[in-house]
């Protein structure tokens, strides 16, 4: 059987025009348009492009939801078995449109979706988890490389064949874990890797570590006497009973707690909900993790102007970097708005 594929391209690749035509309203045409011709050849006898959606990048970007719904309706009429979008190379709006449209198709129609983008296209970060994105060069000069890879991957998906690793298939890692058996034991592989490293040869890790970003140190605060200072902790100090149900590990949220008028954290009102250390001592005296008592003393002595009247707490026990970043971005914005000048973060 020949599978039916619908292709999505922008106004530029359809030959309609560049930026001046970027508000072009979506339309669907029978058969191939522009790069679809080469793509159709790659699909061979297995599949054919039955229709092509053309949409202006600005039109799509200005109301993603509306455009997605409109295009989805057009696509449905052609009863496709799969959708190919782009390649968008390094075009940001085009890449975002391909990603958003692919995401909508895969959710609504549940059929295979393949796009192609340059690795730094913003569409990659936004949608690599939702669809297969073939890694392409940064400009249309890479069309000859992008199209065969996209077509081949689509055929595999349509036929339900097993996919190889992202490197083998040429798509950008989606963060999916798949279990399989290796021929050699872990100890042997580790030794192989180690000896390669000793010899100065190239080796490939089996588990990539997260990359942590670096920030420039902030300038010092010469005079603290006019400053509001806040306390934040990853040590799980919360009001007794853990009202926000912060998880003992792999936290999904953080808490914001009012401490105006609180001079000392006592075991009858506060506790630690952290599951990664023995919390006996922290529950006995939560100041051992979050030093409110001492901060109040220093505040009264005028060492700084004010202890911020809220503290933020979460649990840093297996909590993902992504979550931690999200929490901090949220509460940092609040503190900034409230005029906090400096923060002391405590970690167990």
């Amino acid at each position: 059987m020949t599978y039916r594929v619908v292709h999505y391209i922008n106004q530029f690749f359809a030959g309609i025009g560049g930026e001046e035509k970027a508000d072009y309203k979506p339309e669907i045409r029978e058969g191939v348009v522009g790069p679809g011709m080469a793509l159709d050849k790659v699909l061979g006898d297995d599949a054919e492009i039955v229709a092509t959606v053309v949409c202006g990048d600005t039109y799509f970007a200005s109301d993603v939801e509306k455009a997605s719904v409109e295009i989805l309706e057009m696509i449905k009429k052609y009863n496709p078995d799969g959708i190919i979008l782009g390649p968008a190379f390094n075009a940001g709006r085009y890449g975002t449109a391909c990603g958003a449209m692919g995401d909508a198709v895969s959710k609504e129609l549940g059929i295979p979706v393949v796009s192609g983008m340059y690795k730094e296209n913003p569409g990659v970060e936004m949608f690599k988890k939702s669809l297969y994105i073939i890694e392409t060069p940064d400009s249309a000069r890479g069309m000859g490389k992008a199209v065969p890879a996209m077509g081949k991957l689509m055929v595999k998906l349509l036929k339900g064949e097993n996919l190889g690793s992202p490197e083998e298939e040429g798509y950008i890692e989606r963060g999916i874990r798949k279990n399989f058996f290796m021929e050699k034991l872990a100890a042997e592989r580790a030794l192989d890797m180690f000896t390669r490293k000793l010899k100065g040869e190239t080796f490939k890790t089996e588990y990539a570590m997260p990359v942590f970003d670096r920030v420039e140190p902030n300038p010092p605060i010469k005079d603290l006497s006019g400053c509001t200072i806040a306390l934040v902790t990853s040590g799980g100090i919360v009001p007794k009973g853990n009202p926000d149900h912060i998880a003992a590990s792999s936290a999904q949220n953080y808490g914001e707690y009012d401490i105006s008028g609180v001079d000392d954290l006592t075991s009858d009102k506060y506790e630690s909900c952290h599951g990664g250390y023995d919390s006996t001592y922290a529950c006995e005296d939560p100041d051992r993790v979050l030093p409110i008592d001492v901060m109040r003393e220093l505040e009264k002595e005028g060492r700084f102007k004010k202890l911020y009247d809220k503290f933020y707490a979460s649990v840093g026990n297996g909590t993902s970097v992504a979550n931690a970043k999200k929490f901090a971005a949220e509460f940092s914005a609040k503190m900034k708005k409230d005029g906090v000048d400096a923060v002391i973060v405590t970690s167990t």
Binding site: P217, D287, P291, R303, S347
Partner: protein, 68 residues
């Protein structure tokens, strides 16, 4: 921002720029083996060190160890 952290290597890995080492994992700002007054003094010294760290110019990740 200053990070009072017991496991300094983690703080360095995640990228804190001003780091003050804590006492121990279950009580970074205390020591239950000491009397209440002694313990509070330890805590106060650490917080003061953190405040001083905020007032110190740094150009790279810096661990504020013992008092100079």
């Amino acid at each position: 921002m200053v990070h009072i952290a017991t496991i300094v290597p983690i703080s360095l890995t995640v990228g804190a720029n001003r780091i003050v080492p804590g006492v121990a994992i279950p009580y970074p700002l205390g020591d239950p083996s000491k009397s209440a007054d002694e313990e509070k003094l330890i805590r106060r010294q650490l917080v003061e060190k953190a405040l001083k760290a905020l007032q110190t110019e740094v150009t790279e990740q810096t661990v504020f160890k013992d008092e100079e």
